[in-house]
């Protein structure tokens, strides 16, 4: 069971979850296009719903559901491939998680469509949705914990059978990603469990500040989970595609560990302009937020080293000649390469905006929306697309045909142009104060609001390009899943590593220690503020429905 046979065995799960993920991308993406057109002042059409319903759906379907489903389909396949199969318990947990997801989707999407839950994917109290919305979220948390348990068990089972050996790197990434999402989900689960009895009317009030804090414990951790999932492909897939070895196994493992241990406290930077925390506490959390950038510096170095080596081997000369020699016409490369370039800008923007005073300039403006459409929309999602182009035909036992290669290149450029137009114009207009999460409004033709109009038109234009690119990716993926010629597409995983002639230290395998360390970090960051905000709380807030 240990040898690599060259095919993912747990195929059906991968196909169904990824198929479902792209269906949600189609629906959630369509809502996104309508929002972009609305913000440009061009359209009031929302499929008979209102702006805030489709905004809530866009967030729930894309930032939580598409990403979670893709993560499950992709990392279960990768773990299966790297470990040479998954134990029965893992497979059962995966399917149970999927069933739980479907139950969650019925409750959550149902209540939003009925107009009972226009609360955004952040569902800040005291906005009170139908209690069934929160019940749905409980099932979503189940999905996350069950999916994580499946991967943990698979790793444990493999280690038991391979004593003294390192867990294969791809599985190590998977364990890290599921560890991080579990740590984050603890926070939001506490929030949901406080809101369920409140929404049913069994308890009187809710602590609004605590609610926000628990949400961001989860919220920013979540985007870093998607980032960790994406970089697993940068470390494992990219070297295989461009024909070079992994830069360093031990470095990759340390990056995973740092991301898991450092991440959760960073969520606090979403509350830099909140009342109820001192400036000193906020400064402390700015330090924690910037610490998250450190593992990305490691990654940047490793990636450029990998790229340069591949380019030189292909005959690239001089300071930058190797860059030209990289396989730009291979969509498996192009997607990941642009994703990484996008992350340079997204990451730099993130570093800037996490500094307290700069955060005050951009907080809750369209800048932030621009920021995460670069980080998630380009760095993460383009990596997911890059993986899906070959993973889907691999799982479906079909061919990634030459025509589809070309099609994938066109799709990638369309997506990049659309996302660039949209996120750049969002970022700039945000600096002029345009609020996020707002239906189009000129605020009674106020002179300062009218200044935004030209840039908002570019947001709309970007949305239209993204509509084309979105239809292309969904159509392309379904074609590869159901209609492409039968055949074989390889699974792109690099196992050879370059630099470490010496062994990766075994202490990297000690997940109990990393988990404990992450908990210590969380307690240090959140312990005092949470005790403070509970003890010195104002009266609890009643339920409000303002939509």
């Amino acid at each position: 069971m240990n040898n690599i046979i060259g095919e993912v065995k747990f195929r059906k799960f991968g196909l169904i979850t990824i198929g479902l993920a792209f269906l949600l991308l189609l629906i959630g993406g369509a809502f996104g296009v309508l929002q972009a057109l609305n913000r440009a002042g061009l359209s009031e059409f929302f499929f008979g719903l209102d702006y805030y319903q489709i905004l809530t759906l866009h967030g729930v379907l894309l930032i939580v559901s598409f990403t979670l489903l893709f993560m499950n389909g992709y990392l279960y396949s990768a773990t299966d491939y790297a470990l040479g199969g998954l134990p029965k318990l893992t497979r059962t947990l995966a399917w149970t998680g999927l069933v739980s997801f479907l139950i969650a989707a019925v409750f959550i999407v149902g209540t939003i469509l009925m107009g009972e839950a226009s609360v955004m994917y952040t569902f800040y109290a005291p906005l009170a949705a139908s209690p069934w919305f929160y019940v749905g979220l409980v099932f979503l948390a189940f999905t996350i914990f069950l999916s994580a348990a499946g991967i943990f068990y698979a790793a444990y089972d493999w280690k038991k059978r391979n004593k003294g050996k390192h867990l294969p790197l791809y599985a190590f990434f998977a364990v890290g990603a599921y560890m991080l999402i579990s740590l984050g989900t603890i926070g939001v689960t506490a929030k949901v469990l406080l809101q369920v009895p409140w929404a049913f009317g069994w308890t009187d009030g809710v602590n609004v500040l605590l609610d926000r804090t628990l949400l961001w414990w989860f919220g920013h951790t979540l985007v870093n989970v998607w980032y960790l999932v994406a970089i697993s492909a940068w470390y494992m897939v990219l070297p295989k595609v461009i024909g070079t070895k992994i830069f360093s196994d031990s470095l990759a493992r340390i990056v995973v560990i740092l991301i898991v241990v450092l991440n959760v406290p960073g969520g606090f930077h979403h509350q830099i302009v909140d009342p109820g925390f001192t400036e000193t506490l906020k400064f402390g959390h700015a330090v924690m937020s910037l610490a998250i950038a450190v593992p990305s510096l490691f990654t940047a170095f490793a990636m450029f080293a990998t790229l340069e080596r591949a380019g030189r081997r292909r005959g690239g000369k001089g300071l930058l000649g190797w860059l030209v020699k990289l396989p730009w016409k291979d969509p498996k490369f192009l997607t990941i390469m642009i994703a990484m370039i996008g992350f340079i800008f997204g990451g730099a923007g993130g570093i800037a905006q996490t500094n307290n005073q700069l955060n005050q300039v951009v907080h809750n403006t369209f800048w932030v929306v621009g920021h995460f459409h670069v980080t998630v929309g380009i760095a993460v999602v383009l990596t997911f697309f890059g993986v899906a182009w070959w993973l889907v035909p691999h799982l479906a036992r079909r061919e990634f045909t030459p025509f589809m290669h070309k099609f994938a290149l066109w799709q990638t450029w369309a997506w990049v142009i659309g996302m660039f137009l949209m996120s750049a114009s969002m970022s700039i207009v945000g600096l002029f104060g345009t609020p996020r999460r707002s239906q189009h409004s000129t605020y009674g033709d106020h002179a300062h609001a009218l200044e935004w109009n030209e840039l908002l038109l570019i947001v709309g234009a970007g949305g239209l390009v993204l509509m084309v690119a979105g239809l292309m990716i969904v159509g392309g993926i379904y074609y590869l899943m159901f209609f492409a010629p039968k055949g074989h597409t390889p699974f792109y995983m690099q196992t050879l590593q370059d630099r470490d002639a010496y062994k990766t230290p075994l202490w990297t395998e000690n997940w109990a220690m990393w988990f404990a360390l992450a908990i210590v970090m969380i307690v240090m960051a959140y312990g005092y503020p949470i005790v403070d905000m509970v003890i010195n709380a104002p009266p609890g807030s009643p339920t409000w429905r303002t939509w």
């Binding site: 805030y52 226009s118 955004m120 800040y124 906005l127 609004v208 500040l209 926000r212 031990s250 830099i272 302009v273 909140d274 009342p275 109820g276 925390f277 001192t278 400036e279 906020k282 400064f283 700015a286 910037l290 450190v294 510096l297 940047a300 170095f301 080293a305 570093i351 800037a352 500094n355 307290n356 005073q357 700069l358 955060n359 005050q360 300039v361 907080h363 809750n364 002029f432 104060g433 345009t434 609020p435 707002s438 239906q439 409004s441 009674g444 106020h446 002179a447 300062h448 609001a449 630099r499 470490d500 010496y502 230290p505 010195n536 104002p538 009266p539 807030s541 409000w544 303002t546 939509w547």
Partner: protein
């Protein structure tokens, strides 16, 4: 583990940039008093229930002159309005906004300034801005608060 020489240089440079960012941010907070709005006082928002007048000082919202061209604006936010919704001050006025929410979470942005903060029910938030240019400024709600969120505005008129 062993590190490449170039890798060391890169990491020192990268972490150095982060450290400089923190030093600048910290200097602005502690030496220049430019920290983000972080008021810690709470308030009993339940006093607005059943048509109550609400807690002091928010039972009397308005613009108050408290010094030489210094003003305090006692302001309440609720879905979907600010009270007061029109504020007139002379050029050069230093205005401290003292705010709370009567219902859900709100926030404010005033384009052309760096006024930007969250306003939560049960919590008092304060933020100060000096208006050096005569203009009519727009204050908008920047946190989704319900179906009329994009209609929630106030005007700050700064006169010569």
């Amino acid at each position: 583990m062993k590190m490449h020489k170039l890798e060391e240089i890169w990491l020192i440079f990268g972490i150095g940039v982060l450290a400089v960012a923190l030093i600048v941010t910290g200097y602005q907070v502690y030496a220049l008093g430019m920290g983000p709005p972080s008021h810690k006082e709470t308030v009993d928002h339940t006093l607005w229930e059943d048509g109550g007048e609400g807690p002091a000082p928010f039972n009397e919202p308005g613009v108050y002159e408290v010094g030489d061209n210094e003003y305090e604006v006692i302001m309440t936010l609720e879905a979907f309005s600010f009270n007061p919704s029109e504020i007139t001050v002379p050029v050069g006025a230093e205005v401290t906004f003292i705010m709370t929410s009567k219902d859900v979470v709100h926030g404010i942005t005033v384009p052309h300034t760096n006024l930007n903060t969250m306003v939560l029910p049960g919590h008092i938030q304060t933020i100060t801005q000096t208006f050096n240019e005569a203009d009519e400024y727009l204050m908008v709600c920047n946190e989704y608060c319900g179906v009329g969120h994009h209609m929630m505005t106030a005007n700050i008129i700064v006169e010569e």
